[in-house]
Protein backbone atom coordinates (compact mmCIF):
# COMPACT_ATOMS: atom_id res chain seq x y z
CA UNK A 1 0.00 0.00 0.00
CA UNK A 2 1.43 3.32 -1.07
CA UNK A 3 0.97 6.72 0.50
CA UNK A 4 -1.74 7.61 -1.98
CA UNK A 5 -3.83 4.63 -0.96
CA UNK A 6 -3.56 5.69 2.64
CA UNK A 7 -4.98 9.10 1.82
CA UNK A 8 -7.89 7.45 0.04
CA UNK A 9 -8.61 5.27 3.04
CA UNK A 10 -8.39 8.22 5.43
CA UNK A 11 -10.87 10.17 3.34
CA UNK A 12 -13.26 7.21 3.20
CA UNK A 13 -12.98 6.71 6.94
CA UNK A 14 -13.58 10.41 7.54
CA UNK A 15 -16.63 10.35 5.30
CA UNK A 16 -18.09 7.35 7.12
CA UNK A 17 -17.54 9.10 10.45
CA UNK A 18 -19.11 12.28 9.14
CA UNK A 19 -22.12 10.40 7.81
CA UNK A 20 -22.55 8.45 11.03
CA UNK A 21 -22.49 11.55 13.21
CA UNK A 22 -24.78 13.38 10.82
CA UNK A 23 -27.28 10.52 10.94
CA UNK A 24 -27.16 10.35 14.72
CA UNK A 25 -27.83 14.06 15.15
CA UNK A 26 -30.44 14.28 12.42
CA UNK A 27 -32.45 11.34 13.75
CA UNK A 28 -32.44 12.75 17.27
CA UNK A 29 -33.46 16.21 16.10
CA UNK A 30 -36.10 14.83 13.77
CA UNK A 31 -37.83 12.88 16.48
CA UNK A 32 -37.72 15.65 19.08
CA UNK A 33 -38.80 18.48 16.79
CA UNK A 34 -41.50 16.34 15.24
CA UNK A 35 -43.13 15.24 18.49
CA UNK A 36 -42.73 18.51 20.38
CA UNK A 37 -43.33 21.11 17.69
CA UNK A 38 -44.60 19.26 14.62
CA UNK A 39 -41.54 20.37 12.65
CA UNK A 40 -39.09 18.40 10.54
CA UNK A 41 -35.39 19.18 10.62
CA UNK A 42 -35.44 20.85 7.18
CA UNK A 43 -38.44 22.93 8.20
CA UNK A 44 -36.62 24.08 11.30
CA UNK A 45 -33.53 24.79 9.22
CA UNK A 46 -35.52 26.98 6.87
CA UNK A 47 -37.20 28.92 9.65
CA UNK A 48 -33.85 29.34 11.36
CA UNK A 49 -32.16 30.50 8.16
CA UNK A 50 -34.92 33.04 7.60
CA UNK A 51 -34.71 34.35 11.15
CA UNK A 52 -30.95 34.65 10.79
CA UNK A 53 -31.50 37.12 7.96
CA UNK A 54 -33.04 39.34 10.62
CA UNK A 55 -35.78 41.25 8.90
CA UNK A 56 -34.42 40.69 5.46
CA UNK A 57 -35.85 38.42 2.79
CA UNK A 58 -34.49 35.30 1.18
CA UNK A 59 -35.04 34.00 -2.32
CA UNK A 60 -36.18 30.45 -2.90
CA UNK A 61 -32.86 29.60 -4.51
CA UNK A 62 -30.86 30.74 -1.49
CA UNK A 63 -33.22 28.84 0.77
CA UNK A 64 -32.65 25.73 -1.32
CA UNK A 65 -28.91 25.95 -0.86
CA UNK A 66 -29.20 26.77 2.83
CA UNK A 67 -31.29 23.64 3.39
CA UNK A 68 -29.34 21.50 0.92
CA UNK A 69 -32.55 20.85 -0.99
CA UNK A 70 -33.56 20.69 -4.64
CA UNK A 71 -35.60 23.44 -6.17
CA UNK A 72 -38.76 21.41 -6.30
CA UNK A 73 -38.48 20.32 -2.70
CA UNK A 74 -38.02 23.93 -1.68
CA UNK A 75 -41.15 24.98 -3.52
CA UNK A 76 -43.25 22.40 -1.70
CA UNK A 77 -41.57 23.03 1.64
CA UNK A 78 -42.31 26.74 1.42
CA UNK A 79 -45.87 25.92 0.35
CA UNK A 80 -46.37 23.74 3.42
CA UNK A 81 -45.00 26.37 5.77
CA UNK A 82 -47.01 29.07 4.07
CA UNK A 83 -50.21 27.06 4.48
CA UNK A 84 -49.43 26.78 8.16
CA UNK A 85 -49.05 30.54 8.32
CA UNK A 86 -45.40 30.43 9.35
CA UNK A 87 -44.03 32.42 6.44
CA UNK A 88 -45.23 34.43 3.46
CA UNK A 89 -44.26 34.61 -0.18
CA UNK A 90 -43.42 38.08 -1.39
CA UNK A 91 -43.13 38.75 -5.07
CA UNK A 92 -39.96 40.54 -5.97
CA UNK A 93 -40.56 43.85 -7.70
CA UNK A 94 -37.29 44.37 -9.55
CA UNK A 95 -36.92 40.77 -10.77
CA UNK A 96 -40.34 39.31 -11.36
CA UNK A 97 -38.97 35.78 -11.61
CA UNK A 98 -37.79 35.93 -8.02
CA UNK A 99 -39.86 35.23 -4.93
CA UNK A 100 -38.89 36.35 -1.48
CA UNK A 101 -39.94 34.56 1.66
CA UNK A 102 -40.34 36.13 5.05
CA UNK A 103 -41.15 34.83 8.50
CA UNK A 104 -44.55 35.74 9.91
CA UNK A 105 -44.93 36.56 13.62
CA UNK A 106 -46.38 33.07 14.09
CA UNK A 107 -43.30 31.65 12.42
CA UNK A 108 -40.91 33.57 14.65
CA UNK A 109 -42.93 32.49 17.65
CA UNK A 110 -42.87 28.81 16.76
CA UNK A 111 -39.17 29.05 16.05
CA UNK A 112 -38.59 30.65 19.43
CA UNK A 113 -40.45 27.79 21.09
CA UNK A 114 -38.61 25.15 19.08
CA UNK A 115 -35.11 26.57 19.48
CA UNK A 116 -34.61 25.39 23.08
CA UNK A 117 -35.64 21.88 22.06
CA UNK A 118 -33.27 22.01 19.10
CA UNK A 119 -30.33 23.25 21.18
CA UNK A 120 -30.92 20.78 23.98
CA UNK A 121 -31.25 17.74 21.69
CA UNK A 122 -28.25 18.86 19.66
CA UNK A 123 -26.16 19.09 22.82
CA UNK A 124 -27.37 15.65 23.94
CA UNK A 125 -26.67 14.09 20.56
CA UNK A 126 -23.17 15.56 20.44
CA UNK A 127 -22.54 14.33 23.97
CA UNK A 128 -23.64 10.86 22.96
CA UNK A 129 -21.43 11.03 19.89
CA UNK A 130 -18.57 12.03 22.15
CA UNK A 131 -19.10 8.84 24.11
CA UNK A 132 -18.79 6.72 20.95
CA UNK A 133 -15.09 6.00 20.37
CA UNK A 134 -15.07 6.33 16.57
CA UNK A 135 -17.17 9.51 16.63
CA UNK A 136 -15.47 11.28 19.53
CA UNK A 137 -12.59 12.81 17.54
CA UNK A 138 -14.96 14.43 15.08
CA UNK A 139 -17.20 15.76 17.84
CA UNK A 140 -14.11 17.23 19.43
CA UNK A 141 -13.00 18.82 16.17
CA UNK A 142 -16.48 20.29 15.75
CA UNK A 143 -16.23 22.09 19.07
CA UNK A 144 -12.87 23.55 18.13
CA UNK A 145 -14.13 24.87 14.80
CA UNK A 146 -13.41 28.57 14.37
CA UNK A 147 -16.65 30.40 15.06
CA UNK A 148 -17.30 32.57 12.02
CA UNK A 149 -19.12 35.60 13.38
Amino acid sequence: MGIGDDAVEIRAQGWRTLAALHGLIETALERALQTEHDLSVVEYTVLDALSRQDGWHMRMRQLARAAALSGSATTRLVTRLEERGLLTRILCADDRRGIYTELTPAGSELLARARPTHDRVLADALAEGGRTPELAPLVDALHRLPAAH
Copy 2:
Protein backbone atom coordinates in the same frame (compact mmCIF):
# COMPACT_ATOMS: atom_id res chain seq x y z
CA MET B 1 -24.98 36.92 26.27
CA GLY B 2 -23.28 34.61 28.70
CA ILE B 3 -20.66 31.99 28.07
CA GLY B 4 -23.31 29.27 27.97
CA ASP B 5 -25.08 30.94 25.10
CA ASP B 6 -21.84 31.04 23.19
CA ALA B 7 -21.46 27.29 23.51
CA VAL B 8 -24.98 26.80 22.19
CA GLU B 9 -24.26 29.01 19.19
CA ILE B 10 -20.98 27.24 18.47
CA ARG B 11 -22.74 23.88 18.50
CA ALA B 12 -25.46 25.13 16.19
CA GLN B 13 -22.89 26.58 13.82
CA GLY B 14 -20.92 23.33 13.87
CA TRP B 15 -24.04 21.35 13.10
CA ARG B 16 -24.92 23.59 10.16
CA THR B 17 -21.42 23.20 8.80
CA LEU B 18 -21.55 19.45 9.27
CA ALA B 19 -24.90 19.21 7.53
CA ALA B 20 -23.77 21.40 4.65
CA LEU B 21 -20.64 19.37 4.00
CA HIS B 22 -22.58 16.13 4.35
CA GLY B 23 -25.10 17.31 1.80
CA LEU B 24 -22.42 18.42 -0.62
CA ILE B 25 -20.61 15.08 -0.51
CA GLU B 26 -23.74 12.96 -0.55
CA THR B 27 -25.21 14.73 -3.57
CA ALA B 28 -21.98 14.38 -5.53
CA LEU B 29 -21.63 10.70 -4.64
CA GLU B 30 -25.28 10.01 -5.35
CA ARG B 31 -25.12 11.42 -8.85
CA ALA B 32 -21.85 9.75 -9.77
CA LEU B 33 -22.63 6.31 -8.36
CA GLN B 34 -26.13 6.40 -9.82
CA THR B 35 -25.11 7.26 -13.37
CA GLU B 36 -21.95 5.16 -13.53
CA HIS B 37 -22.91 2.05 -11.56
CA ASP B 38 -26.65 2.25 -10.91
CA LEU B 39 -26.03 2.40 -7.17
CA SER B 40 -27.32 4.77 -4.51
CA VAL B 41 -25.06 5.96 -1.72
CA VAL B 42 -26.73 3.74 0.88
CA GLU B 43 -26.48 0.77 -1.42
CA TYR B 44 -22.77 1.41 -1.85
CA THR B 45 -22.42 1.87 1.89
CA VAL B 46 -24.04 -1.50 2.55
CA LEU B 47 -21.90 -3.33 -0.01
CA ASP B 48 -18.82 -1.64 1.40
CA ALA B 49 -19.74 -2.51 4.96
CA LEU B 50 -20.27 -6.14 3.99
CA SER B 51 -16.96 -6.31 2.13
CA ARG B 52 -15.25 -4.79 5.14
CA GLN B 53 -16.36 -7.79 7.20
CA ASP B 54 -14.17 -9.82 4.86
CA GLY B 55 -15.84 -13.20 4.56
CA TRP B 56 -17.92 -12.82 7.67
CA HIS B 57 -21.66 -12.25 7.83
CA MET B 58 -23.64 -9.31 9.06
CA ARG B 59 -27.07 -9.28 10.63
CA MET B 60 -29.76 -6.97 9.31
CA ARG B 61 -29.67 -4.98 12.52
CA GLN B 62 -25.96 -4.28 12.24
CA LEU B 63 -26.42 -3.33 8.63
CA ALA B 64 -29.16 -0.93 9.63
CA ARG B 65 -26.85 0.83 12.06
CA ALA B 66 -23.95 0.85 9.62
CA ALA B 67 -26.09 2.56 7.01
CA ALA B 68 -27.96 4.78 9.51
CA LEU B 69 -31.22 3.31 8.27
CA SER B 70 -34.44 2.14 9.90
CA GLY B 71 -35.23 -1.53 10.11
CA SER B 72 -37.88 -1.41 7.44
CA ALA B 73 -35.66 0.47 5.01
CA THR B 74 -32.95 -2.11 5.58
CA THR B 75 -35.32 -4.95 4.77
CA ARG B 76 -36.27 -3.40 1.45
CA LEU B 77 -32.72 -2.35 0.64
CA VAL B 78 -31.45 -5.88 1.18
CA THR B 79 -34.35 -7.21 -0.87
CA ARG B 80 -33.44 -4.92 -3.76
CA LEU B 81 -29.79 -5.92 -3.67
CA GLU B 82 -30.70 -9.58 -3.35
CA GLU B 83 -32.94 -9.39 -6.41
CA ARG B 84 -30.02 -7.92 -8.32
CA GLY B 85 -27.91 -10.85 -7.21
CA LEU B 86 -25.41 -8.71 -5.29
CA LEU B 87 -25.90 -10.37 -1.91
CA THR B 88 -27.67 -13.33 -0.33
CA ARG B 89 -29.77 -13.82 2.77
CA ILE B 90 -28.57 -16.62 5.03
CA LEU B 91 -30.81 -17.88 7.80
CA CYS B 92 -29.06 -18.03 11.13
CA ALA B 93 -29.06 -21.51 12.68
CA ASP B 94 -28.62 -20.76 16.37
CA ASP B 95 -31.01 -17.82 16.49
CA ARG B 96 -33.81 -18.38 14.05
CA ARG B 97 -34.93 -14.77 14.27
CA GLY B 98 -31.65 -13.56 12.83
CA ILE B 99 -30.76 -13.28 9.17
CA TYR B 100 -27.23 -12.95 7.90
CA THR B 101 -26.33 -11.23 4.67
CA GLU B 102 -23.31 -11.98 2.57
CA LEU B 103 -21.80 -10.50 -0.59
CA THR B 104 -22.02 -12.61 -3.74
CA PRO B 105 -19.12 -12.64 -6.23
CA ALA B 106 -21.19 -10.33 -8.43
CA GLY B 107 -21.58 -8.00 -5.47
CA SER B 108 -17.85 -7.89 -4.76
CA GLU B 109 -17.21 -7.31 -8.41
CA LEU B 110 -19.61 -4.41 -8.70
CA LEU B 111 -18.19 -2.92 -5.54
CA ALA B 112 -14.68 -3.20 -6.93
CA ARG B 113 -15.79 -1.35 -10.05
CA ALA B 114 -17.64 1.32 -8.07
CA ARG B 115 -14.93 1.98 -5.49
CA PRO B 116 -12.66 4.05 -7.77
CA THR B 117 -15.62 6.24 -8.70
CA HIS B 118 -16.52 6.62 -5.05
CA ASP B 119 -13.00 7.54 -4.00
CA ARG B 120 -12.47 9.96 -6.84
CA VAL B 121 -15.75 11.79 -6.33
CA LEU B 122 -15.21 11.89 -2.59
CA ALA B 123 -11.80 13.47 -3.10
CA ASP B 124 -13.27 16.00 -5.52
CA ALA B 125 -16.14 16.88 -3.19
CA LEU B 126 -13.78 17.35 -0.25
CA ALA B 127 -11.54 19.53 -2.41
CA GLU B 128 -14.52 21.64 -3.37
CA GLY B 129 -15.56 21.88 0.26
CA GLY B 130 -12.06 22.98 1.10
CA ARG B 131 -12.49 25.85 -1.34
CA THR B 132 -15.65 27.03 0.44
CA PRO B 133 -14.63 29.32 3.29
CA GLU B 134 -17.18 28.19 5.87
CA LEU B 135 -16.58 24.50 5.10
CA ALA B 136 -12.80 24.54 4.85
CA PRO B 137 -12.06 24.23 8.58
CA LEU B 138 -14.20 21.10 8.87
CA VAL B 139 -12.63 19.55 5.79
CA ASP B 140 -9.27 20.24 7.31
CA ALA B 141 -10.27 18.68 10.62
CA LEU B 142 -11.55 15.63 8.76
CA HIS B 143 -8.18 15.04 7.21
CA ARG B 144 -6.48 15.26 10.57
CA LEU B 145 -8.82 12.74 12.14
CA PRO B 146 -6.96 9.90 13.84
CA ALA B 147 -7.19 6.88 11.55
CA ALA B 148 -8.66 4.09 13.67
CA HIS B 149 -7.19 0.91 12.21
